[in-house]
Symmetry: C2
């Protein structure tokens, strides 16, 4: 084990780090010359360069980028605010964003809003105070006009997964309505007429869109919507159990289910064994191991990698000067039949 020298480390106080001034003094040059060396500017004599390098190493100097950013006026920093790092959809999206923006030389500030609009605002404004060049945000259901002064001031903002209701800004979405329509059509094509829909809190944009897709699919097939086959409770086990009991028992039960997101899909899968004959099932959003379950779970897959990349690209384009009108990009979904959605009533 390498020993770490604790000399000079004072409790609770940041240790003063050597500055460009200290390096200059030790090397016997001006701070401007040190600046030239650390920025690889031409026209510095080899001997001077050597001396400066030696001083840098001896002192353990590292340029303070905060000072540099202050002087230069831009930070090469982007902010990402999402709902939950632990959710696979967002973590995969995050990875895609991080890879792309790092490649362009940006540093990434991240934060999780936990679906709380107050927390989102705190995070976003903190990032703005740190002068991020741009933001990628999975917006909560609340208002977003607190962002207007920032956007006016030149902060680029891109929203992902949901629009920021009140703001006219670049937005990257899944085509929720078409995706759900395809999934419900699929069930209808197997002869189902009684299809239950388990959504999520209707104030969540995606939940509302997906419900609209469900209604549209039934309408297009000439089927009437039975409101008792619709459940928009948050994905808690008891709520799911109640909804299933309501839909799957009684004289005219549902023969198929469409679930509005993967948490609900998984929640339903855990409950289904208790309900006798298994209804056909199609879920919105893919999840790992869906193919290994028995039967495999048929899903309408989103593409979080592509969505993250698109968001990052839109943001980078803004940062390189694009001043065109806000764009709304919709990513197509893919129906992946695996067995659970291909049974007849």
């Amino acid at each position: 084990m390498t020993e770490i020298d604790e000399a000079g480390v004072r409790a609770g106080r940041p240790v003063p780090r050597p500055t460009i001034k200290d390096v200059a003094a030790l090397a016997g040059v001006s701070i401007k010359t040190v600046s030239r060396v650390i920025n690889s500017e031409p026209r510095v004599s080899p001997a001077t360069t050597q001396a400066v390098r030696a001083a840098i190493t001896e002192l353990g100097f590292r340029r303070n980028d905060g000072a540099r950013i202050l002087r230069q006026g831009y930070s090469a920093t982007l902010g990402l605010v999402l709902e939950d790092f632990g959710d696979p959809f967002y973590s995969v999206l995050t990875d895609a964003v991080a890879q792309l923006v790092h490649r362009e030389g940006y540093t990434l500030l991240t934060g999780s809003s936990a679906e709380d609009s107050v927390r989102e605002r705190e995070l976003v404004l903190n990032f703005c105070a740190r002068r991020v060049d741009g933001l990628i945000v999975v917006p909560t259901a609340g208002q977003h006009d607190y962002l207007l002064p920032e956007i006016k001031a030149g902060v680029a903002a891109v929203f992902v997964d949901r629009p920021a209701g009140d703001l006219d800004a670049d937005t990257v979405l899944s085509d929720n309505v078409a995706g759900v329509r395809a999934g419900v059509d699929h069930l209808i094509s197997y002869g189902h007429r009684r299809i239950g829909f388990l959504g999520d809190r209707p104030d969540i944009f995606t939940a509302a869109e997906r419900l609209a897709g469900y209604r549209a699919a039934l309408a297009a097939a000439g089927l009437t919507v039975d409101e008792s086959l619709i459940d928009m409770a948050p994905p808690q086990p008891p709520a799911i159990r109640d909804a299933l009991t309501r839909m799957l028992t009684g004289p005219d039960p549902a023969t198929a289910l469409f679930t509005g997101n993967s948490r609900i899909t998984v929640g339903v899968l855990r409950e289904l064994p208790g309900y006798g004959r298994r209804p056909a099932l199609v879920g919105f959003d893919d999840f790992e191991l869906a193919d290994l379950l028995a039967p495999g779970v048929t899903v309408v897959a989103q593409d979080p990698v592509a969505m993250g990349q698109t968001a990052a690209q839109l943001l980078l384009r803004r940062l390189s000067g694009d001043r065109g009108p806000a764009r709304r990009i919709s990513h197509a979904t893919t129906l992946v039949p695996r067995g659970s959605g291909e049974t007849r009533p």
Copy 2:
């Protein structure tokens, strides 16, 4: 949709934001008074406060925290470097870290090394140049002495999941050896004597530790280690297929398997149907839906939430002045029997 005024936004250039000076001018006070208002210092007259507040709103002023940090000398920023945001183990750990440090008022810089030590170094040193107060790092297999000057300079560093081989610093690990021993003992207790081990690249610390646990378990049970039942290839489908063929066919095949991480476990599950009678299986690291597969997959579960919290707590303790010797904290694992590991040869 709210209109966004694009006036003053120049292509490709950051827009100059109003500063404390602009606010002072508009409010007819000194910048020091503005500073007092934005920092809620006492002893400012209500009238002055009102005037300043009005100017702030009118200009869309937001304090530049970069300047503040430069002057104050500490950044209230922490850096997190991990291997892959998309991996559930790390994304859950990230969420735990983010929640805890945000609650303490820190902003989080994040980056993914993609298991590349050069990339890790870049990220870490970039974070240090931005004067993070502390770092949490999932270290790659490479050297880490580049961090010594930074640590000497007062940057607190905590390593998670693996030690940084050459550095004597706070480290949070799973108890890999004991975890694997418990899992292999479990298989032995069901009568298995031919237990295959599918690990990962042996230069990865956790892979080596887990292999050691496997050997220790067999030794403790008086069983000889058959090297042909050990595979340490990275978790690619073809490599897994080859290893399974080698272990599960022939005159004296393995009757049970221990898989060294969840990617391998899942890879094995995908291949198993092709190999006749299903061997018993225990995997290291839990994964979502392991309980919903048929049979449920028995695992040795780690606790990424607790590990992230411990790492964050160690870091915060250092930041509040703890100068004690480096600590290495080992998190116990939990054997979760679900069916796949409870069959006899």
